[in-house]
Amino acid sequence: MDTLPLIDRVIHRDLSVDTAIEALFRSGFELGERQSSQRTVLDTFDGRLHAAGMRLEHHSVGTRQELVLTAAGTIPARVITTAVPRWATDTPRGPFRARLAPVVEVRALLPLLTFTDTWQPAIGRDRTGKTIVTLMLHVAVGVVPWSIEVVRQPGHAAAAQRAVDLLLGLGFDPVPDDLASAVMSASGVAAHGHRDSPTVALSTVQPGWTGWRDVLLNLAESARANWRGTIDDIDTEFLHELRVALRRSRSILGQAHGVLPSSLREHFGDELRWLAGITGPTRDLDVYILEWDRYTAELTDPSRDALEPVLKHLRDHRRRAHAEFVAALRSDRASTLLDTWTAALTALAEPAADDAPKATDEIGHVVAARIRRTHQRLLDDARTIDADTAAERLHELRKDAKKLRYLVECFGSLIPTHTAKRFVKQMKGLQDNLGEHQDAEVHAAEIHVVAAELSDEHAARTTLVALGQLSQQLDATKARARGEFATRLADFDSKRTAKVMDSMLEALRVQ
């Protein structure tokens, strides 16, 4: 497409709308009807659409509702709707959803902002009556001054330039952002959403205890950010992110011996373990339901249909588990935990040397030693695993792998980004394998519970038979994961990984 003027929107602080309309009319623009839209900007909690360079808006004009999906450099997509969508799957099936769903995935679409836009189009046409440029006059928006947007028309750069020249000649000034961005900015709404990152800025030479404190404070903030959404059950990612923040916190705290005071480690270690423990049942069921299509993909259509009561049971279990979990989250013990934890970290002074002898060592050295030891222990344990090893040992290995990964991620600012990323990538194959095995193990156990319930309820024989098939699928998944373990471990327990590990340790020890 040809290059068009960068100016998209212009404002004039003195000129009245009527005077501008008169000038546009005299210049040959055809003025359309003035209308009011209620516009709602939608995005996920973590701003996935914004990060992908997209904006989704719901427009309501009278009884007509439409969804508008825009992205820089492309024409907008519009589709009629009957309601504000909560999920990507609420949008009409077809090209619109196909574009939205891979970005949004399982996250809910949340209204970031709603505003009323009173607008009037002014259309420039050529001699055949074809539209060559459109000016949208946003005559009343409320929190921002009235403005005109120049709507780009591919292949008609000259017409757009003439329109821009006309507006600049009338004394309009270009503004850098589009209308919705300006309204969001004026209303104090951040378009980028909330992103959880375990990494905080650290220096390799700062004392160990301050680095540990900063990492833990950042993780506490991540847990806090996802607390409300977990209770309100907005989408499954809130609980997932809360659990990740708690697991990372426990893991980093568990690696803080000799760096942080033992009283702090022991008390909050216990409390965080308790909190993380109550999040487990709901998340296990979330994963089961999210993975349902994959688990049942290889079953026949009649078998899948026969399993509908099972899925319903899982959803019922999930509802009950979440209700119990929320009740626990609302307890005094849970609701004050993050505050007391944050307060304890914030008030932390340099620990006594006899309790925490490594507290004032340079953090790079302390982290390097802990990464090296955790890595070695992981390899030592992994090398003893064979086909007869109990499933629990694999689960323990999975936890150890996470501990290593969390150290690398949380202290990632001390390591060159590409080195840390390479190491995490090297770990991924092994972690995915252990995760698949563990999920199938947990879900197979859940199947037995559901099977017993359905049997008590005299469920249809077809359902029980299909349940048996599903159980076989899960056993096959476990067996496949066990079968692939040795290969995945060999990929990780390799010279290549050792080389990346050496680079990381070297970077951490550099002063």
């Binding site: 497409m1 040809d2 969804l67 999906l69 450099g73 492309t74 024409i75 907008p76 997509a77 519009r78 589709v79 009629i80 949008t91 009409p92 099936r93 077809g94 090209p95 619109f96 959803r97 196909a98 574009r99 055949t128 009556g129 074809k130 539209t131 060559i132 709507v151 780009r152 028309q153 591919p154 292949g155 008609h156």
Partner: protein, 247 residues
């Protein structure tokens, strides 16, 4: 981006009216659409009110340094863009013959626009030629309007036979076009088509005078005759196609 081509070996079967109306219906269901008029007659270009002029002509477009984006034009519909046709396309075969891998050339020209559009709709001239082969190399699906007459059905069979030897052929989605249900022969041929071609799309396009009016209104049928049987049929036909593309 899904690449579709309204294609038939036979002329006068409703390819261009289908391309323009399906583009409009696709845009109404949330697609960003690029119509690429490959027919030197430039009827789709005309219907969408775009000037029939390509800078440098077909030579430059399909040449080594050619690019589609310089030829893209806006229309009266904000979600539909057009690459218009002019008379230089009458020699498209000759120009394609001059480039390396001519059967891939149209696909190569479309590739940089993959993220800019959801649907590219190629309106093809009636023939089976090197240009057609380049269309087969680019298209995910061929939309084949078929008038329920023995001659029209014969060209569908010819196309099917030709594609049987084609490496990775596009999906063929034939549909009944311009049917006059008052005619017994057409009703019988349509029924036979449905039996013989399981891939036949469910919707039949009627032979309606309201479609002919596109030449004077220069707009898709639903713009000036929304709710008529032709307008509804185009909407349903797009829905049939979309169900196959995005199941």
């Amino acid at each position: 981006m899904k690449v579709l081509a309204t294609y038939s070996i036979k002329g006068g079967v409703g390819k261009t009216t289908s391309a323009v109306n399906l583009a409009y219906e696709a845009a109404r269901t949330g697609a960003r659409v690029l119509v690429w008029d490959l027919d030197p007659q430039g009827a789709a270009t005309f219907f969408l009110r775009v000037k029939p002029r390509m800078k440098g002509g077909a030579t430059r477009l399909v040449g080594r340094d050619g690019a589609l984006d310089a030829h893209i034009r806006g229309t009266d519909f904000e979600s539909i863009n057009v690459v218009g046709a002019d008379f230089s396309l009458r020699n498209l075969d000759v120009h394609l013959d001059d480039v390396k891998r001519p059967a891939q050339r149209l696909a190569e020209l479309l590739a940089p626009l993959r993220d800019s559009y959801d649907v590219a709709l190629l309106d093809c001239p009636p023939s089976i030629s090197l240009a057609s082969e380049s269309v087969f190399g680019a298209a995910d699906a061929l939309l084949v309007p078929t008038i329920p007459t023995p001659l029209s059905v014969r060209t569908l069979v010819q196309l099917d036979n030709f594609l049987a030897d084609w490496p990775r052929p596009p999906d063929v989605m034939p549909y009944v076009s311009m049917i006059d249900r008052r005619r017994k022969l057409q009703r019988e041929v349509a029924a036979e088509l449905r039996e013989r071609w399981p891939a036949l799309l469910a919707t039949e396009l009627p032979n309606a005078s309201v479609v002919e009016r596109m030449a004077t209104t220069r707009a898709p049928v639903s713009v000036y005759a929304d709710g008529t049987s032709a307008s509804v049929a185009f909407a349903h036909l797009w829905s049939d196609i979309a169900d196959r593309l995005w199941p």
